[in-house]
C-alpha cells in the first residue's frame, strides 16, 4: 500500500468509526433498566468493540487487506454480541424486565409489541431484536473502520520499522484515531442511543463532517511523519 492510499485509508476508517457509534445501542440509565441499550455511554461501548476488533485484526496482519478488515469486524461484532447477550440475560432473569424499545411500537423484524411490556416511567429496557441487530451492524462497522486505520498505518510504517514494532505502534495509533472519532458522535447522541431506530440517526451528517475534518488532520500528520519529514 503506498502512503497516499494509506492516508486515504485512515480518513475512511476514521469516518466509518464515527458512523458506527450511531448504531450502537447504549445508555447510562440502562444500568437501572430505565432505557433501551447497554448500560454505558455509546462512545465507551464503541471503544470496547473497536479495541476488540483491533486485537482480532492484529492476528491477521500480513494477510490481504479484506481479510484483516473482516477479522477486525468479526472480533468487534463478537464482543458486542457477548455483551448484549449477557445484558439481556441479566435484565430478563435478574431485574425481571423484558427486552423492549421505546422508539417503536412493534419490532420491525419480529413484529412483537413493545409498549405493553415497558415498565412505567422508563424508555424501554435491554435490547430487543432490531436494537440488537443495530448493535451488531455498528460493531461490524466499527471493527472494520478501526482495522482499516490499523492496516493503513501498518502498511505505511512497515518499510521503516521492524514488524513487531510496526504492529504495536500501528495498533496504538489505530486505537487513538478510534478514540478521537468515536467520542465526537457522543456530542450528537447526548449520551443515549437506541441504534438505527433512534431519531438521532438523522443527525449522522454532522458526525460525518466532524469525523472527516478530524481524520484528515490526523491522516495528514501521520503521512507527513512517515513520508515528508
Amino acid at each position: 500500500m503506498d502512503p497516499i492510499t494509506g492516508m486515504i485509508g485512515i480518513i475512511i476508517g476514521g469516518i466509518i468509526v464515527g458512523i458506527c457509534v450511531h448504531f450502537i445501542p447504549a445508555s447510562a440509565v440502562g444500568a437501572m433498566s430505565a432505557s433501551t441499550g447497554i448500560a454505558t455511554g455509546p462512545s465507551m461501548l464503541s471503544t470496547g468493540c473497536g479495541l476488540a476488533g483491533l486485537y482480532a485484526a492484529g492476528y491477521m496482519i500480513g494477510e490481504s487487506l479484506p481479510l484483516v478488515v473482516l477479522s477486525g469486524a468479526m472480533g468487534s461484532a463478537l464482543m458486542i454480541i457477548c455483551t448484549m447477550l449477557l445484558a439481556n440475560t441479566i435484565c430478563a432473569f435478574g431485574t425481571g424486565v423484558a427486552p423492549v424499545a421505546g422508539s417503536y411500537d412493534k419490532d420491525p423484524i419480529t413484529g412483537w409489541r413493545q409498549k405493553p411490556f415497558m415498565s412505567p416511567g422508563t424508555d424501554g429496557h435491554s435490547m430487543p431484536t432490531t436494537t440488537a441487530l443495530s448493535g451488531i451492524i455498528g460493531a461490524l462497522l466499527g471493527g472494520a473502520g478501526g482495522s482499516l486505520v490499523f492496516v493503513s498505518v501498518y502498511e505505511m510504517i512497515s518499510p521503516i520499522l521492524e514488524s513487531t514494532t510496526a504492529v504495536t505502534i500501528a495498533g496504538m495509533v489505530g486505537a487513538g484515531v478510534f478514540l478521537i472519532n468515536c467520542v465526537i458522535p457522543a456530542y450528537v447522541l447526548v449520551g443515549k442511543s437506541e441504534g438505527m431506530t433512534d431519531k438521532k440517526m438523522k443527525l449522522m451528517h454532522k458526525t460525518f463532517v466532524s469525523c472527516l475534518i478530524v481524520s484528515v488532520i490526523t491522516a495528514v500528520f501521520v503521512y507527513a511523519s512517515v513520508v515528508v519529514i
Binding site: A28, G41, S43, M44, T47, I157, I160, L161, T165, T168, I169, M172, V173, A175, G176, V177, L179, I180, V183, I184, A186, Y187, V188, L189, V190, G191, L203, K206, T207, V209, S210, I213, V214, I217, T218, F221, V222, S225, V226, I229
Partner: protein
C-alpha cells in the same frame, strides 16, 4: 450586646485555563530540553511537566460544568487520544530537530479542530470548548512526549524503544486528567482543590513511570530513579496540601451515638 455580622467569604478568582496552558507549554519546552541535553537531570523535567496535568485537569473541570453530551471519562480519553496519538505518530519522524514544537503544535491544532467540530458543526454551544479541547490535547501531548524523552535517555522520539508501554501511558495520562473533577465534588467544585488533586495524581503517575523505568531493561536507570524519588516527595507534599483544602469546607463531625457503657 450586639454581635457583628460576619463578613461573607471572599470568592476566590479562578485561574484561567489558557494561563495554565501557557505555563505548561513554557515549562514543557524547558523540561524537554533538560531531558534531551542531560538525561541525569530528568528529575527536574518531571517537576516541570506537572503544570501540564493541571492545565488539562482544569479544562476537564471547566467543560464538565456545562453538562457535556459525553461523560467526564470520554472527554479525558478524547483529549488524550488527540495529544498522545500525535506524539506516538511522531516516532516515525527521522529527525528530532522539530521536537517538541511540532508535536505540541499539531496536538493543539487537532484538539482545536475536534472542539471546533463539536461547537460549530454539531452545535453543542459549550463556551470555549475549542480552546479547552486544544489545551487538553496539547497538555497530554507534552506529558507523553517528555516521559518518552526521559525513557529514551535523551535520544528523542526516534530513539525510543519502549513502545510497549504506550497503552499504560495512554490510560494513566487519561485517568490523571479526568479523575480530579469526579474525585472531588463534581459540578461547582472549588477549582484550586480540583487542581491540587490533579497535582497529587500527576505525582503518583510519574512515580509509577519512574518505577516502570527502573524495572525496564532498556531505559536509563538514573533518570528513572530520579523520577521516582522526586515524584514520591511531590506526592507527599501535594497530598498534605490537598487534604488541608478538603478540610477547609468540611463540617464538624460530632459524636451522636450510644451512651457510655452500652455495647455497640
Amino acid at each position: 450586646m450586639t454581635t457583628q455580622p460576619s463578613e461573607p467569604p471572599v470568592e476566590k478568582k479562578e485561574i484561567p485555563n489558557y494561563k495554565l496552558y501557557l505555563l505548561a507549554v513554557i515549562t514543557g519546552i524547558i523540561s524537554y530540553f533538560i531531558a534531551a541535553l542531560n538525561p541525569n537531570l530528568s528529575f527536574i523535567s518531571i517537576i516541570l511537566i506537572w503544570p501540564a496535568f493541571i492545565a488539562a485537569a482544569g479544562c476537564v473541570e471547566f467543560l464538565c460544568r456545562y453538562g457535556l453530551g459525553t461523560g467526564t471519562s470520554s472527554i479525558g480519553y478524547w483529549g488524550t487520544a488527540c495529544g498522545a496519538t500525535v506524539v506516538f505518530a511522531s516516532q516515525f519522524i527521522e529527525t528530532t530537530a522539530y521536537s517538541p514544537f511540532l508535536e505540541i503544535a499539531i496536538a493543539t491544532l487537532l484538539g482545536y479542530a475536534a472542539g471546533f467540530c463539536a461547537n460549530k458543526i454539531i452545535k453543542m454551544k459549550i463556551p470555549r470548548i475549542e480552546l479547552n479541547s486544544a489545551i487538553i490535547a496539547g497538555s497530554t501531548g507534552i506529558i507523553a512526549l517528555i516521559i518518552l524523552e526521559i525513557f529514551a535517555g535523551g535520544a528523542g522520539m526516534a530513539g525510543t524503544t519502549v513502545y510497549y508501554i504506550y497503552p499504560v501511558m495512554y490510560i494513566g495520562i487519561a485517568l490523571t486528567i479526568l479523575h480530579p473533577y469526579n474525585g472531588n465534588l463534581g459540578a461547582g467544585e472549588n477549582q484550586t482543590r480540583t487542581l491540587m488533586l490533579a497535582m497529587c495524581e500527576a505525582a503518583l503517575l510519574t512515580s509509577l513511570f519512574g518505577f516502570i523505568g527502573i524495572l525496564l531493561p532498556n531505559t536509563p536507570f538514573i533518570p528513572a530513579l530520579g523520577m521516582l524519588i522526586i515524584s514520591i516527595i511531590g506526592f507527599v507534599i501535594f497530598v498534605s496540601i490537598w487534604w488541608k483544602r478538603v478540610k477547609e469546607e468540611v463540617y464538624d463531625v460530632v459524636w451522636a451515638g450510644y451512651p457510655e457503657g452500652v455495647d455497640h
